[in-house]
Amino acid sequence: MSKSLVIKGGTIINRKSQEVADVKIENGCVVEVGKNLKGDTQLDASGCIVSSGFVDLHAHLREPGKEEAETIETGSRAGALGGYTALVAMPNTDPPQDSVAVIDFVREQGKRAGLVDVVPSGCITLGRQGESLAPMAELAHAGVTFFTDDGNGVQDAALMRRALEYARGLGVTLAQHCEVAELTKGAVMNECSCCTDLGLPGWPAIAEELMVFRDIELVRITGASMHFLHLSTKRSVELVRAAKRDGLPITAEVTPHHLSLTQELLASYNPVFKVNPPLRSIEDIQALKAGLLDGTIDAIATDHAPHPRRDKEMSLDLAPPGMLGLETALGVVLAEGACELRDVVALMSWNPAKIARVDAEHGRDVVAGVNANLCVFDPQLTWSVDPERLASKSINTPYIGRTLRGRVRHTIFKGTPTVIDGQAQK
């Protein structure tokens, strides 16, 4: 008889209900939801929300290849502290995730760390070079359901069309990093009045929107399903809204930083604010938030992108783009107050679990019989980020000095607490 765990007194948010109740967990599963439950171990959840664990569609875990920045273990720990029970690992590793060997390695390292489900994505093209298709059927056979060249957009329209057609036959989802590369050569920040003043090459909104438009039309003729990564502009939201109205099988995500930070931060000359796509204007933020509310945007995904300190101490033009996200996502989203708690759970757990096709185990309602992948968070607690105390191996968080609201208290992964009272358990 295995030991039982009871989460006491939290408010459970499910799709069709919201109630204060205890959750009893045994053998990795939720066995009972009700009042006055007893177990061998108890975790207090009073004043907290209990929901299914979060699922990140967009985590750069850097292993293999750039273990100086992050490993699958440290990234998993950061994820657990952020309330995540599953992370989709982006394929821009070295070697990239375009072979079964690398996919298996990433998944195994995830199991070894044992803190979250690490779900490797596969490359669309070999080596993310945009020249020929990766062995997508072989990768799909090895369990990959989510393919992307993230970091690069697939530039060649004919190749992208073939990829979508091929993906439709395999029943997998392609995810696009929307960036027409010819329009963003050397770009450091959004093309705006601020970039004019700073004399920096701009990354125009149109570079994203052109590819969003192109791929919507490719979906229309191929019928394959498509996910748009890290949308950042007002017009992108409008394009996706119209495509969904047409009934196309399209989903989209935004990042916490594109919901909370603007282009003007680059005037600090601090490369921690350099990210791809770049921070945009307040009007773009408003449009992204409206997209969250009306269902145009399906998921909030972190684009967690660790970089070692020395890389972010280079000049703005040379520093690599990207910022940390896993440990701050919830606090940023709730501080922005863009949507209701129920919407936050939908955007960070239910919807991404479906998009990543891990919804058999993640993003389930908290009821008897489901796998116990849960997040318990205090939606009111305010806190500030101490970069030295992050679990991530890197410290490139843009949120130093900002007050976040909402913090993960406990995370339960397969029935075992990975985080208790904000402390990682291993």
Partner: protein, 311 residues
């Protein structure tokens, strides 16, 4: 004042004060022995990560005339080529005891980043396409010297050429407008930033419509790589539309002055020898470079000691 990184940070008061201080420095430079002990014991390090002739030499000359010690950092023989990070390089030189860094770098923002890593003063000698504040000071001083005007109110200045990639333009737009001039930018749209509507300037794409109305014609250098990048189809076409030709010189107002920050591209933006232009101030710009940079160094590093003594 701790640093000189942009005209914006300097402000009108700081700009005016430095121009006045430059008068004193010019006086020193006219002495038989143009050297004073004002910065004796101070050390100025030049960190030039980009080629420069006049800016680097004029800073070094300025430091020497104020009796400061100078250190020159030569990128080609430095540890940077062994992979040392910029932060480590700055920290190393700081440890040797340096009071000011004069920094030129191809990347925007380096002077601000460096100032977080050292207690020394930072002087921006050009960062990417962003700022070149001492060039703007030189140009303002040169105009003031030629026109004897304390304020530029009522003065019309045309800046002609590659505004988009020009740090000189960005600093001068700020400086000229702070002093009261009206500024018109003259360039094809491809050599302008995508949107300058928030800048206090007007814009023209036709030099011939503007040239006869200006008091100062400020020509910028066009780098030949702009052609490869598709900003202009050919240098010849650019030169025909925006170059200063003998014919165009004749359409200038009789007292209009012509300036260029150097180095000139003869045959491109300068189709005429500057010595053939009656009111060219190009040589004055170079000559004033030393006085202006002496003023900057003294303002940042001086401790009120007399400028009058002999070294």
């Amino acid at each position: 004042m701790k640093h000189l990184r942009s005209i914006d940070e300097l402000g009108l008061e700081g700009l005016t004060a430095l121009l006045q201080l430059t008068d004193h420095m010019a006086e020193i430079n006219h002495r038989p022995v143009p050297k004073v002990p004002a910065l004796r014991g101070r050390t100025v390090a030049s960190l030039f990560f980009e080629d420069s002739t006049r800016t680097r030499l004029s800073f070094e000359t300025a430091a020497k005339r104020l009796s400061a010690d100078t250190m020159t950092f030569n990128v080609s023989t430095s540890s940077v080529n062994k992979g040392e990070s910029l932060r480590d390089t700055v920290a190393t030189i700081t440890d040797m005891g340096v009071d000011a860094f004069v920094v030129r770098h191809k990347s925007v923002g380096i002077p601000w980043q460096i100032s977080q890593w050292t207690s020394a003063s930072i002087i921006n000698a050009g960062d990417g396409a962003h700022q070149h504040p001492t060039q703007a000071l030189v140009d303002c001083y040169t105009i003031r010297e030629a026109t004897h005007a304390q304020s530029f109110a009522g003065m019309k200045v045309a800046i002609v050429g590659d505004i988009k990639h020009s740090r000189v333009a960005r600093s001068n737009i700020q400086a000229f407008t702070l002093l009261g001039a009206s500024v018109v930018l003259v360039a094809p749209p491809t050599l302008l930033p995508p949107d300058v509507s928030h800048w206090p300037v007007s814009v023209s794409h036709k030099l011939d419509e503007v040239i006869g109305t200006v008091d100062v014609l400020y020509m910028l250098r066009l780098q030949s790589e702009r052609m490869a990048q598709g900003h202009v189809p050919t240098l010849r076409e650019y030169s025909e539309q925006y170059g200063l030709t003998q014919k165009r010189v004749l359409t200038l107002k009789s007292d209009a002055i012509v300036m260029h920050p150097g180095p000139m591209n003869r045959g491109v933006e300068m189709q005429i020898d500057p010595s053939d232009v009656k009111n060219s101030l190009i040589h004055r710009q170079v000559a004033n470079g030393v006085s202006v940079r002496m003023a900057v160094l003294f303002e940042l590093l001086g401790s009120g000691s007399s400028l009058g003594g002999q070294a």
